[in-house]
């Protein structure tokens, strides 16, 4: 399956770089990866979507689910490095109002 999550930590911030497609077939893998983060009690999370080539509606739904879980845990989740195409899907669906989206990791790290 064309999907991968790499995780790194900067102090109390967790940066997850996601590569591949977030679709109906890979959403489950993403959810599992996120369960691990939830277990680690990460409260400051940046999802770098720079290497995500494709997102479908179930991928968007998975991201919403992740955001809701982080919020319930009094945490903050930011998105960064969205490609033009992925960014346009957030604009079309108005999910850019729901998520905090930054152009790159450096911007996302500011005031976190």
């Amino acid at each position: 399956m064309n999907f991968e999550i790499k995780e790194k930590h900067l102090g109390d911030i967790t940066i997850c770089s996601i590569a591949g497609e977030i679709n109906i077939n890979t959403s489950l893998n993403m959810r599992k990866g996120f369960e691990k983060l939830a277990c680690e009690n990460s409260r400051k999370i940046i999802l770098n979507l720079g290497s995500v080539s494709y997102i479908d509606s179930s991928g968007l739904a998975t991201l919403i689910e992740m955001l809701q879980r982080v919020k319930r845990n009094n945490g903050v989740m930011r998105l960064s490095n969205l490609s033009e195409k992925v960014s346009s899907l957030f604009e079309i669906t108005k999910l850019d109002k729901l998520f905090n989206i930054f152009s790159n990791e450096e911007e996302a790290l500011k005031n976190f």
Binding site: N23, I24, N25, Y54, D56, S57, S58, L60, A61, I64, E65, Q68, K85, L89, I92, T93, K94, L95, K97, L98
Partner: protein
């Protein structure tokens, strides 16, 4: 026309079949991605909501070219759905909903979208512009 068994594991295979049919049109990656996403959303809806994962039911997929347009239809064997009932997912009160974006995305990404009377078939039209053909051939 080709048939897809009501199994989500078959979606990728069906997508490859659609993309293979579009290979000769030199479409831009943007245009291909719009078509791919729309087709997959329609097929997933047909398998999940139309045929309710019943593997005895199949989904009929068809791609034709009419003038400067690509027409893709996806028809399930379910009872049909009233597409007017779909809530607008971009309203503030619906933003956090985890479902209901598939048809909305299709309508935004394709040029014309219609449904048959029974509500078990979606017909999607994408106009092919000269711009698309040029970008695709680079």
């Amino acid at each position: 026309m080709f048939k897809v068994i009501s199994d989500l594991a078959k979606v990728n295979e069906a997508t490859q079949e659609i993309l293979a049919k579009l290979k000769d049109f030199n479409l831009s990656n943007d245009c291909l991605q719009d078509i791919r996403l729309s087709f997959e959303e329609a097929l997933i809806n047909a398998i999940k909501h139309g045929n309710k994962f019943n593997k005895n039911f199949s989904v009929d997929c068809n791609l034709t070219v009419q003038g400067n347009s690509i027409i893709i239809s996806v028809r399930d064997q379910g009872q049909g759905y009233d597409y007017n009932k779909i809530k607008n997912p971009t309203l503030d009160e619906n933003l956090e909903r985890k479902c209901g974006r598939g048809v909305f995305l299709i309508k935004k990404l394709m040029d014309n979208v219609s449904f048959n009377k029974a509500g078990n078939e979606i017909i999607m039209q994408k106009k092919i512009s000269r711009h698309d053909a040029c970008r695709g051939s680079r």
